[in-house]
């Protein structure tokens, strides 16, 4: 037993070395920086150790704005994108003709560059001196006055960011869900059909439980992904996110490291640790809930 244990460690060593070097060490390092006040990465010096970094970050209006944005984004996009992906996947699964074509179409945004998609969204939503944007054109048909989605009120910007985020994460979820749906044995549906099960009941009592592990995987990764959102906001509102009130937590961390206000690695580390704590908590809650509801 003892000997075989040692052997196992040898096999694991390469992977462990990489994990320690590139995951554990940086994490611990960031954790330490977050308590070192006024750390300077060039001179590798700091003034003292304490909770000042956290105090500063938690009082920083930009950070609070970023937290608010991130939470709204998570709360809006994760449920909607997952539900939408489920509806589209079920629809895709139930058609026979052209299924592959539709699957490809729905998957296209996934292989398209985030910034390119951002450009498309700009054309759709942005007001310029020459045009109000495509969406405003449609809205005007219903007699709604043009709205500046990119540079206008907060709710409009949040709306665009949410739609954009949902649009970007949807393809991956659809891909995963369609394969999960396809792997459900057809006999379950036939059995339900013979027993006269309504479509809705079949969906809620059979389909959803059967794919519940995949569903929860998507929800958990969806939460994590949404908390780490940054590039989507940049694609829409440019790099000065604080000015646009559209910063996210990751964006704040980036700004603190390199941005206009740049060069505060200690504050960046504290913000990163706070984000880590939030994601960890949410994931744990997710896992506890999923234990109760995911079958097998």
């Amino acid at each position: 037993m003892e000997r075989s244990n040692n052997k196992a460690w040898i096999y694991l060593l390469p992977a462990l070395l990489f994990l320690v070097a590139f995951m554990v060490y940086p994490l611990v390092d960031v954790f330490i920086y977050s308590f070192e006040e006024g750390y300077n990465s060039a001179s590798q010096t700091y003034n003292g150790i304490g909770l000042y970094n956290y105090k500063y970050v938690l009082r920083d209006p930009y950070f609070l704005q970023a937290v608010k944005n991130t939470f709204i984004l998570v709360a809006v996009t994760v449920p909607i994108s997952t539900a939408l992906a489920l509806v589209i996947s079920v629809a895709l699964n139930s058609i026979e003709k052209l299924r592959n074509m539709f699957q490809t179409i729905y998957f296209l945004p996934y292989v398209t560059n985030t910034l390119a998609v951002g450009l498309v969204f700009m054309i759709l939503f942005k007001q310029t001196p020459y045009t109000d944007g495509f969406i405003n054109m449609i809205l005007s048909l219903f007699g709604i006055a043009p709205i500046d989605f990119i540079g206008g009120p907060y709710w409009a910007k949040m709306l665009v960011l949410s739609i954009y985020t949902i649009w970007v994460v949807l393809p991956f979820k659809i891909l995963i869900l369609t394969s999960a749906l396809a792997s459900v044995n057809k006999d379950y549906y036939n059995a339900a059909k013979v027993d006269g099960t309504s479509r809705w009941r079949t969906f809620t009592r059979i389909t959803v439980p059967m794919i519940s592990p995949t569903l929860f995987y998507l929800i958990i990764t969806g939460f994590i992904g949404a908390f780490k959102a940054y590039s989507d906001a940049v694609a829409l509102f440019g790099t000065d996110l604080n000015a646009a009130e559209m910063n996210t937590i990751v964006g704040y961390v980036y700004d603190m490291l390199y941005g206009n206000s740049g060069g505060y690695p200690s504050f960046a580390s504290s913000a990163a640790i706070i984000l880590f704590a939030i994601v960890l908590t949410i994931t744990c809650i997710n896992l506890i809930i999923s234990k109760k509801n995911v079958h097998y």
């Binding site: 044995n185 006999d187 379950y188 036939n190 059995a191 339900a192 059909k193 013979v194 027993d195 006269g196 099960t197 309504s198 009941r201 009592r205 059979i206 439980p209 059967m210 519940s212 079958h295 097998y296």
Partner: protein, 367 residues
């Protein structure tokens, strides 16, 4: 519930561009009497599962009609046909307990058929008792053996008291011992409920042992239908003769000349009423009688003693199988020192078939 098939045909489009369509069920015309256990029997790919799915309504026929009693159910969706279906893999919902699985069909009832929870529980328990799993109501399918899962599947199919119970290869996922036990169970359950039951199998043993009637199919066409023993004793063509019986029937190239059946150079039986010519002869294993002065000589290969019976394995140049297997009572003794064995043939255990495409039976009289 009597079931009638009327010119029922199902053709599937061929897969691929140039593939020709496949006719899985070809012009079915027969009637299944009420309250019987029917075995639909045939080799893989003969269309028996398609026939079952047509009955159930999961697939629609290309042409023809199906009647349950006097009702034309051809266009009626499965849920309104009043059928119970036991799937080959049972299709038990893995996330539900046995109780929930059995109650599931009842919970689907709507409107005036809607049942209270108590009645549902009661009916579920009743069905569970019938298949003797009432002690396992709170288990999940994964926590049960294959045989128990099979029973749950039957209980779920029975709980609504269907007019017809359909089973697709009900025993194929069970091991040999459970298979014997479960087929008795199916017989018992059918006897108790009196529900017309149709099951599909490729195992002729299974079909013969419990069915009131068997229907033998080949390539979508019904070959013969009747009581198991009748079909065994009086096969209408070579396919039916070879498909039924273990060990399988022994097939020979034969000739009829001057009122005698010739296998090789030996005239093995005197007959009347058959034209001279080339035929295929088939002899059941129990159709051989050991006789030192017998008319049929084979090369002795080996003797297998199986307690009650002796199985004599021999060879003959006219045989279409590698070896000839004959079953004789163990009261007989085979001299294993010689390399020949002589038999007489029981006249009712040898069948002649035409050398045509249909290989239909040619009847003869004993001379």
């Amino acid at each position: 519930m009597k079931i009638v098939f009327e010119h029922l045909t199902k053709t599937f489009p061929g897969k691929g561009k140039k593939a020709s369509p496949v006719t899985a069920v070809n012009d079915f015309n027969f009637e299944i009497p009420d309250g019987k256990l029917i075995g639909l029997l045939g080799p893989s790919g003969c269309g028996k599962s398609t026939a079952l799915n047509l009955l159930c309504g999961l697939i629609k026929p290309t042409s023809g009609k199906i009647y349950f009693g006097d009702d034309d159910v051809t266009e009626i969706p499965p849920e309104n046909r009043g059928v119970g279906f036991v799937f080959q893999n049972y299709a038990l919902y893995p996330h539900m307990t046995v109780r929930q699985n059995i109650m599931f069909p009842l919970q689907n009832l709507k409107g005036k058929d809607k049942l209270t929870k108590e009645v549902m529980e009661e009916k579920a328990l009743e069905a569970a008792k019938l298949v003797q799993i009432d002690g396992l109501m709170d288990r999940k399918p994964a926590e049960m053996s294959g045989g128990q899962q099979q029973r749950v599947a039957i209980a779920r199919a029975l709980v609504k008291m269907p007019r017809v119970l359909l089973m697709d290869e009900p025993l194929s996922n069970l091991d040999a011992r459970l298979r014997l036990q479960t087929r008795e169970e199916i017989r018992r359950i059918q006897n108790e409920t009196k529900i017309t039951t149709i099951f599909v199998t490729h195992d002729q043993d299974e079909a013969m042992s419990i069915s009131d009637l068997i229907v033998v199919m080949k390539l979508g066409v019904i070959q013969q239908m009747g009581k198991p023993q009748e079909v065994y004793d009086d096969p209408h063509n070579l396919f039916v003769a070879t498909f039924l019986g273990t060990p399988p029937i022994n097939v020979f190239d034969a000739k009829v000349k001057n009122g005698q059946i010739f296998i090789g150079d030996e005239a093995v039986l005197d007959i009347k009423g058959v034209k001279d010519g080339e035929y295929t002869a088939a002899i059941r294993p129990e159709g051989f009688m050991l006789n030192e002065n017998g008319r049929f000589t084979c090369k002795l290969d080996r003797v297998e003693v199986m307690g009650r019976d002796i199985s004599v394995v021999s060879r003959h140049s006219a045989s279409k199988n590698d070896t000839i297997r004959s079953i004789i009572s163990s009261n007989n003794e085979v001299n294993e020192n010689t390399n020949h064995v002589k038999f007489d043939i029981r006249p009712n255990k040898i069948f002649l078939f035409a050398k045509s495409e249909a290989e239909e039976r040619v009847y003869f009289e004993e001379a």
